[in-house]
């Protein structure tokens, strides 16, 4: 698979408590030359936004210690971060509704490179439209 990168690099926030998953998702994002910040729970993600950090896309797990993905998403959206693409990633079948209710744009059970490529293209289009 040829990994397409177009235009300026996207900035991603990866929110994941399981080390194996962090390693795999980080490498997937690296393949697409996405500049990635990694945190281990929802609270750390919220703190970054509170500190003024901005991201083009957030990829988050559901169940994590201290603060879950949906809880973090609700807080991030409540801060006014409505433009950032937020993707819930969870194998649990009942996570989709929780993510969507919290304000996620998408929910996927597993991230595959093809799916990630499509999501990143969509994120890039959204970013280009809002900066036009």
């Amino acid at each position: 698979m040829a990994f397409q990168t177009q235009g300026s690099n996207l900035r991603a926030l990866l929110v994941e408590d399981i080390k194996v998953n962090r390693m795999i998702l980080s490498q997937m994002l690296r393949k697409f030359q996405v500049e990635t910040t990694v945190v281990q729970n929802g609270k750390e993600a919220v703190e970054l936004f509170l500190g003024g950090e901005t991201f083009d896309i957030v990829l988050t797990d559901n169940l994590m210690p201290i603060m879950t993905g949906p809880e973090a998403i609700s807080k991030i959206r409540a801060m006014g971060a409505t433009d950032v693409m937020i993707v819930g990633v969870s194998v649990d079948a009942n996570s989709m509704e929780e993510f969507k209710d919290a304000g996620a744009d998408l929910c996927v059970p597993k991230l595959k490179l093809e799916i990630l490529e499509h999501i990143l293209q969509e994120t890039r289009s959204k970013k280009n439209k809002s900066s036009a």
Binding site: M1, I18, V20, I24, Q27, L63
Partner: protein
Amino acid sequence: MAAAALTSQLNALVNNMFAMGLLDDQFQQLQMLQDSTAPDFVSEVVTLFCDDGERIICELARQLEKPNVDFDRVDSYVHQLKGSSASVGAQKVKNTCIQFREFCQQRSRDGCLKTLDLVRTEFYDLRNKFQAMLQLEQQIQACYPKH
């Protein structure tokens, strides 16, 4: 043994793991992530998965031995194993973890113990095959000395 024969052995092993349902297509995603900038990616992820998996299984056994089992805590550990299994493509282990979580929700110690035995067997079977896979890869690499 010549590189070609070792490669053939490795391919047969991995194909068998797919055929037996130990691995699913998510493992192919890991293989696609390995490149010149991350030449040992698969072995690093697999090693981490095996180490973490063993730790979790030991912890599950310990938690289920307690007179008052904290099923939420047990469920949390199973969730971790399920998550990492799904990510590396460890299909059988992942599916057994799904069953395990149901017994946690039912607060059934017997159900949990039986499923722990099953997940332990499947995990160690997978781990042994992963170790054989990594050993074959190392032997193949040794056939091509770096300059």
